[in-house]
Amino acid sequence: LAGWWTAAGVVAVLATPAMAAAAAVEVRVEQRDGAPLADVVVAALPLAGGPLAPPAPAVMDQRDRRFVPQILVVQRGARVAFANSDSVSHHVYSFSPVQRFQLYLPKGEPPPEIDFEHAGVVTLGCNLHDWMLGYIAIVDTPYFTKTDAAGAARLRDLPAGRYRLELWHPRVTDGDERLRHQVDLGGAAAPPWRLRLEQPLLPSREQEPAFQEYGGGG
């Protein structure tokens, strides 16, 4: 039963080097047909050990019966507040082995907070709204970002050193090996890592909750 979770999670996060001259790396992800793929989690894990910066807190909001952002990336150990900006209650759950929890979020209440102590991906659902789907990617590095609409992501101000770049996206099915890439960032700008996926994306199964807003919009 547990294997399924590990299959879903792809990223291991390592600490960034302490001494560092600033460096940058650029990643560009394309789908099999060459179209850019947005919202791909990009994390750079330093291969040399050493202390990392403390994780910053984050907020997973719920707005218009969606998780916002849909994919939230946090450093391991970060505290995430589950806000509810909707006028309805939500009941968020995670059955991911990385961290299981259920949070009842009545409207207007202060958001509860959860610390995520393990790296991995937590998939979020809502018991009240089946179509709601969100992810929290917990990475063991402070250097992470997501690709933009052009499928590009840029990490800057990284200390020089060797890194393993790891990518994750819920609909990507290419194997882990293809989604990892080692780079040596020695002060100068490293050449960009350009990945073209070999496997097709999983189809999106998210549905518009049309019935939810009968007679109204938004």
Binding site: L1, G3, W4, A7, A8, F95, P97, R100, Q102, T123, L124, G125, C126, N127, D130, W131, M132, L133, P170, R171, L202, P203, S204, R205, E206, Q207
Partner: protein
């Protein structure tokens, strides 16, 4: 076989054939059609069954999808992850809300998380990983039951792009379902597992119980979509199979079966109705045929019986005239025919038994009457006396007919007939006309004397002169009588005997003659000679012989008399005296004379060509002189052979000229004008009319041999001969003496001044060859006879 039976049999047979053929055709077509329809129904049932199972499968899939969205189940599964039994119980709990009989959870690695049917299966790999796919569905045998199973992916959350688990729901295919399916599709349904995978088939569910269930298990599955007829237990079934399992799983088949008898129920009912209808129509047709046959055959039988009666001579037979149509018409025609036949028979009978002219009985009737009388008298003279069969023939009827015409002749016959009828009216006498001028009389007499007396009386009464068209005629007749039983026993013999007697009476001018058996022989010979003579003329077995006439002054024989000789095959040589009268009586004389003239003229021509022309004398019969064409024919014959007419002499008798004096005169004038000579033969024997003699163009007299032969013995006769010679010479005629047999006679004749002589004393008749020799010899020693 009667007509009725035939009509009945034929129409029934035809009807049965038609019905049989129709029945066979209809039966076969209907059977095929019914069976086809039953098969179609079965195929339709199969389709329906498959549709039903498909919709069940869809419903199962939808139930599974709904179940996968159940918050509580999700909680139970994921919140309590790790506690397999709790998961299983939660799953089973949720399953109960659906119609499913089975529910299984399998993770993405193919490991069973929970199986509501099999608690022990948790943690083990799922047995059918191929089922784990979007829309996966199978029909499977699990243990002792067959399930319809569908698998759906279990997404957590519901919109997640990839499933977290596989959720399977199954419904058992059991007897209840089989019954439900039977109610739906209308045929028996069984679910059979195995059978084509090497494992023995087993009926896992069936819509019925008992024997067929066991049998269905033993059944080999029909292939594909075919419908087959199989014997199960003691009944035939139409069966078809619907494979339910996928190719990658052990076979499970839905078997649809229908008893053939039930499928053919309509057919049998239809067939039964048809047979009943056929039987009814056969019955009706038979009845109709009987009526028709009876309507036809009964009158026909009546007609047949009537025809038998008619054949037996009963023309009064009553006919079944009733009825319309052909048979009635036939009966009426038949009646008309019956009447016509009756009338005609009467007419024919009259014609057959009556003489046309006189209305008297004819020869046939006369003969029948003789027979009838003979049978009545019983053939014994002692008891009943005798029967006289009389044939009478008018004398000189032929002359009357020829001179006065047939009209008068017929009147005469009618007169005779009238007199005979009056005699017959007196009783005990039957009169008949036997033909020509011959009549028959039949009367009962006591004996010869009585017969003679009565016939003489009759002859006397009949002999009274008659006036016909102002011509007074003597009706003289010759009567011939044969007596029964004295002369013969049968009518034909008696009639012939009477005719023979009649000839005798006529020839001998006896008036009445009784039959005498000695005459009979003569008459038979005569009759047979007639036929022989006719053949002789045709086959030329007659021969001409020539008797020289000696010229007493010159001593030369330059003329011959042509005589006929007949070499009869049985009787040898016959003289003209023996057969010429027969020829005269039978009308053969004309062809005979023609033949003689032809041959004689040919000889004359031959002699003339030989340089030593002879003259020839040919005898003519009195009857020849009745033929107005004779003169022309003689001259034509002479001309054809190129013979001078003066070389031919025709010898005739005085009486022969007297019979038809005018015709004879014309003939003789005609030929003598051309140069032909005419001689009076047998001079002295008939009634000589010197006036007649003087008028005729005669050149010669032949003194009859009877005088010449008697000359030597009788001075009176010698005187007659001398007178005759002188008479001839005085009339300017040459005189010839016949029958000279001695030299003395010859010398005496020469002394008397007779011109020519002929006879055995000079020469017998000679053949053509002998004549030539005789003449040659005579020329050598002429003095012999002449001196």
């Amino acid at each position: 076989m009667s007509l009725q039976a035939r009509v009945l049999g034929l129409s029934l047979a035809l009807l049965l054939v038609v019905l049989g053929v129709t029945l066979a055709t209809v039966s076969r077509a209907t059977y095929r059609h019914t069976l086809d329809r039953a098969e179609e129904e079965l195929v339709h049932a199969r389709r329906l069954l498959i549709d039903k199972l498909d919709s069940r499968q869809r419903a199962l899939g939808e139930a599974a999808s709904a179940l996968a969205k159940e918050d509580a189940l999700r909680q139970a599964i994921f919140a309590g992850a790790g506690d397999a039994e709790s998961v299983r119980l939660a799953l089973d709990n949720h399953r109960l809300r659906t119609s499913a009989d089975l529910s299984i959870l399998v993770d993405l690695d193919g490991i069973v998380l929970a199986d509501t049917g099999q608690p022990a299966a948790s943690g083990r790999p799922f047995a059918l990983p191929e089922l784990l796919a979007e829309g996966g569905a199978r029909v499977l045998r699990l243990g002792d039951r067959v399930f319809q199973i569908v698998a759906v992916p279990y997404y957590v959350p519901v919109s997640a792009p990839r499933p977290s688990l596989w959720l399977l729901l199954g419904r058992v295919l059991d007897d209840r379902l089989a019954l439900e399916l039977r109610d739906l599709v209308g045929v028996e349904v069984a679910i059979v597992a195995g059978g084509s995978d090497g494992r023995p088939p087993r009926a896992m569910a069936a819509s019925w119980s008992g024997e067929p269930r066991a049998v269905a298990s033993r059944l080999a599955m029909p292939a594909g979509d075919t419908v087959e007829i199989r014997e199960l237990g003691d009944a035939d079934y139409l069966i078809t199979a619907a494979p339910l399992a996928a190719a990658d799983t052990p076979p499970v088949t839905a078997l649809l079966m229908r008893p053939t008898a039930e499928a053919l129920l309509d057919y049998r009912e239809l067939l039964g109705r048809f047979v009943a209808l056929a039987a009814l129509s056969a019955l009706l047709a038979a009845g109709g045929a009987v009526l028709v046959a009876r309507g036809v055959s009964r009158p026909i039988r009546g007609l047949a019986e009537a025809a038998q009666r008619i054949a037996a001579g009963d023309y009064a037979a009553e006919l079944p005239l009733r009825g319309a149509g052909e048979v009635g018409r036939l009966a009426r025609e038949f009646a008309a025919m019956q009447q016509a036949v009756g009338e005609r028979e009467t007419a024919i009978e009259y014609l057959a038994y009556h003489d046309d002219l006189t209305g008297l009985a004819n020869r046939n009737r006369f003969r029948d009457e003789i027979a009838r009388r003979i049978s009545v008298t019983g053939g014994t003279a002692e008891r009943r006396g005798r029967l006289a069969i009389v044939v009478l023939d008018l004398d000189r009827f032929r002359e009357i007919n020829d001179t006065l015409g047939h009209h008068i002749g017929d009147r005469l016959l009618l007169e005779i007939a009238g007199r005979l009828r009056r005699e017959a009216a007196g009783g005990n006498l039957v009169a008949a006309r036997l033909g020509g001028d011959e009549f028959g009389l039949l009367l009962a007499v006591e004996g010869v004397g009585d017969a003679r007396r009565r016939i003489e009386e009759l002859r006397h009464r009949l002999g009274e002169p008659s006036e016909v068209d102002d011509v007074r005629l003597d009706l003289e007749a010759s009567f011939g009588i044969a007596l029964h039983p004295d002369h013969g026993g049968d009518p034909a013999t008696l009639l012939r005997q009477a005719e023979v007697a009649m000839y005798v009476a006529k020839e001998r001018r006896l008036g009445v003659a009784f039959y005498d058996s000695s005459q009979d022989r003569h008459s038979i010979e005569r009759l047979s000679l007639v036929g022989d003579l006719r053949r002789a003329i045709e086959s030329e077995s007659l021969e001409l012989v020539f008797q020289p006439k000696l010229d007493l002054r010159s001593g030369r024989a330059d003329e011959v008399e042509v005589l006929l000789r007949w070499h009869h095959p049985r009787r040898g040589a016959l003289s003209p005296a023996e057969f010429v009268p027969i020829a005269e009586q039978t009308g053969l004389i004309r062809p005979l004379t023609a033949w003689v003239l032809e041959r004689a003229t040919a000889e004359l021509a031959a002699w003339a060509r030989g340089g030593d022309p002879l003259a020839a004398a040919v005898n003519l019969s009195a009857l020849d002189l009745h033929d107005p064409e004779l003169g022309r024919r003689i001259l034509e014959t002479l001309a054809r052979h190129g013979v001078a007419p003066s070389l031919l002499t025709l010898e005739i008798t005085e009486s022969s000229v007297l019979e038809e004096p005018e015709t004879a005169r014309r003939i003789l004038d005609q030929v003598t004008a051309a140069g032909v000579r005419v001689s009076i033969d047998d001079f002295g024997t008939g009634y000589s009319s010197l006036a007649q003699l003087k008028r005729l163009p005669v050149t010669e007299l032949k003194i009859d041999r009877s005088f010449v032969a008697e000359m030597g013995r009788s001075p009176d006769v010698r005187q007659i001969v001398r007178s005759a010679i002188e008479l001839g010479h005085n009339l300017g005629l040459e005189v010839v003496a016949e029958g000279v047999e001695s030299d003395e006679t010859l010398a005496a004749l020469r002394d008397m001044g007779c011109d020519k002589a002929q006879g055995f004393g000079i020469s017998e008749p000679l053949t053509a060859g002998e004549l030539a020799s005789w003449i040659a010899a005579r020329a050598g020693g002429r003095a012999g006879v002449a001196s």
